[in-house]
Amino acid sequence: MSIVTRKIQATMLSLAIASALLLSACSSAPAAVEPTKAPEVAAEATAVPEPTAAPEAPTAEPTKAPEATATTEPTKAPEATATTEPTKAPEATATMAATVAVATKAATKVSAAAPTATEAAAVVADWAPRQLTATLSGSGASFPNPLYQVWISVYKNVVPGVQLSYSSVGSGQGKKDFIAYLTDFGGTDSAISSGDVATQAPDAMHLPMVMGGVMPMVNISGIKTSLKFTPETIAGIYLGAITKWNDPRIIKDNEGVALPDLTITPVYRSDSSGTTSIFTDYLTKVSEDWKSKVGSGSAVSFPAGIGASGNAGVAATVLNTNGAVGYVEVGYALAAGFPLPYVKNAAGNFVKPETANVSAAANGLNISSDPKKLAMSITNSATADAYPIAAFTYVLVRQTTYKDAIKAQALSDYLYWGLTTGQGATVRLGYAPLPEPMRKASMTALKTMVVDGKSVIDAPVK
């Protein structure tokens, strides 16, 4: 691949990411100005008459416009976001999904392969978020940020009175902000340490919202096929023990691929990040050498390679460097048009980080009945078809110490919506929806939220 092509590819990647972000920003703008117009736009696009007539609609509850239609006709309005047809959604998701689909041809493939069971379960017919007025702010992990921004821009159309904001500042800062009462909710990829929970946030709950996979993204000029990795080769590369692509240990798993005599340049995250936590947590579990020399954490001392800032930075560096390999969240590799690699899991199978396989990593988990103990590591799962480098990302909420009942109601509605309708948007953005048991556990935990001893949300767990 010539430098020029690589340059163009890299520019396209950054453009794709930038346009996705811009679009999410732009699509939320009209909604902010005239929130009531939104469903009409969606309806125009799909020729579904019901939601347009909101105020004068002959439905049972004319005051609750989009939700009312949703109750009588489960396929329409905002809930449609979750179902398989992206065009029916309010315009924000539709555009977003379209952008991602255009930018990443592979993404559509993944969503086609996605299980429909979760998406079907996502629509809760007899529940709709209450029309409250509140301002909610959150901060934290950058890993789920693209998804949260889409949720927020869509939710603006569902409940115009709730002003949501989420700043992507990193898991560590998100936890600190949450503990210091600077935010209403936090976003994090790693649990608050048990000591901090006991002393500083005794009622904090980690609610799993969505799952994601981290994958090695490879750039070897001339090779476009999916490479196969074993835990040993990944650890060897990042430990600096395997330095050439034609190392026998790599060739052994990739018969038939003409791997060149090229130096491997491992690329890692220079900023401390949840993605690094997930990746190093996995390597610590599968490699004794890694465990004793490097360990796991959001920033570790990598023995080999170079650092780049952010998922996008790693993706761009890999694109620019022949022979580079970098670990990124799956969505970023998809956006760059890279093939998904195979990674050998604990059961000995080579699996790709496709949605179903990432979700499978959470199968067979022993879910605690304590709503405060939902955070757990799921890397190197023993399930046969599980992708081994996967993780939950959590929203931090307070179980009992919210003061403002309206705020708590609005927050719990939003999170409940995210756990139901919102799950449908996950696949298109490169995430995986929560498997049923975990999703229900998360909803059950959400329902334990109280203000002054009174429950703030009454919704079915399904």
Partner: protein, 343 residues
């Protein structure tokens, strides 16, 4: 050009000559004088606010880095292992030397490249440039200073590094690099201190160039005229009469550039490779203090980690302060020795 300035000078002199009686404001009899006290107090307050701010920042850096300083002491500055996570073989340690070394080296490289170029640009703009070109050229040079650092970073990553790799790094590492470890290969990604230094040089170039131009414009024309009168060429005039006269100012300009190079974060992060290992080669990835702090502070692993990062920031603050102080001393020394007149 010279004529116009001479007219300006004589104009000022003529103006001064006309004033036989001192102006009203200078006699102290103006009723406005009573405004002096509050005005003076106001400006003192504003000036001391700046001083206070510097002390407040230093105090914050000092207290917040207490935990790491008691745990590691001077190792924070001179230790070379940076390992935020405890493992069996590698205990937690925070040695800032790779970062401090990277900062100093990249800034040095930037200065070595930028200072001669920028002074050349400044001399051309102030002394040799046709009037019609001077304004647009000066504007463009200043525009270069207004480009945000992230754009230099992006340009560096996508355009400069690929070019630098094929045109400079690879041939140099294969020839000179075989016996001089500073330029040894391999060139994997091209990110390293040398590339960072070159981009930093581009960033500080306009700062030094425009300040040098301003300083040279301030040299009195008599200085040039005297030189030309004894038969000196243009070059001799500039080299022997103009530059020595403005040496202190040029050193000041270079120091301002150095300050920017030391503290540059965004472009450095994108280009330096961000690795805490020390390598003998300037082509190998490294790190700088500013990029280390920016990268790891927001999401630090433990309070000790955070404290160590603040200690690195404190070290950077100290280096900048120390260099500025050194620059003052140098300027003072140069000025004292110039006063005698070397012309």
């Amino acid at each position: 050009m010279r004529i116009s300035i001479r007219t300006a000078d004589s104009d000022v002199e003529g103006h001064m000559a006309q004033r036989t009686t001192p102006p009203e404001w200078s006699t102290g009899k103006s009723p406005l004088r009573h405004g002096d006290v509050p005005f003076r107090a106001g400006t003192i307050m504003l000036a001391s606010a700046v001083v206070l701010l510097v002390f407040a920042i230093a105090w914050m850096l000092y207290t917040s880095s207490q935990e790491a300083r008691t745990a590691f002491g001077w190792d924070l500055l001179f230790g070379s292992a940076w390992n935020p996570v405890q493992t069996e073989l590698n205990p937690i340690s925070f040695g800032g030397w790779p970062a401090v070394r990277g900062t100093l080296l990249s800034a040095c490289i930037a200065l070595i490249i930028a200072a001669p170029l920028a002074i050349g640009i400044g001399i051309y703009l102030a002394e040799l440039c046709p009037i019609s070109l001077r304004t647009p050229l000066s504007f463009l040079v200043e525009l270069l200073a207004a480009v945000p650092s992230v754009i230099y970073g992006v340009w560096g990553v996508f355009v400069f590094i690929p070019f630098f790799n094929t045109a400079f790094a690879t041939p140099v590492s294969e020839s000179i690099g075989t016996f001089l470890p500073w330029f040894a290969g391999p060139i994997a990604t091209g990110r390293g201190l040398l590339v960072t230094g070159v981009i930093l040089a581009l960033m500080i170039l306009p700062t030094i160039a425009s300040l040098t131009r301003d300083v040279l414009r301030l040299v009195p024309n008599t200085q040039r005229e005297a030189m030309l009168a004894i038969g000196a060429t243009r070059w001799e005039t500039i080299w022997l009469a103009v530059i020595p006269y403005s040496r202190a100012g040029i050193i000041g300009a270079i120091m301002l550039g150095l300050g920017r190079a030391l503290g540059e974060t965004m472009a450095a992060t994108m280009l330096v490779g961000n690795t805490q290992r020390i390598s003998g080669s300037l082509f190998a990835p490294a790190t700088t203090a500013a990029s280390l702090v920016a990268n790891e502070l927001t999401n630090s692993v433990s309070s000790l980690h955070e404290s160590a990062l603040i200690a690195v920031a404190f070290a950077l603050f100290g280096i900048t302060l120390f260099l500025n102080f050194g620059a003052r001393l140098l300027i003072w020394y140069v000025e004292r020795n110039t006063r005698g007149g070397r012309s």
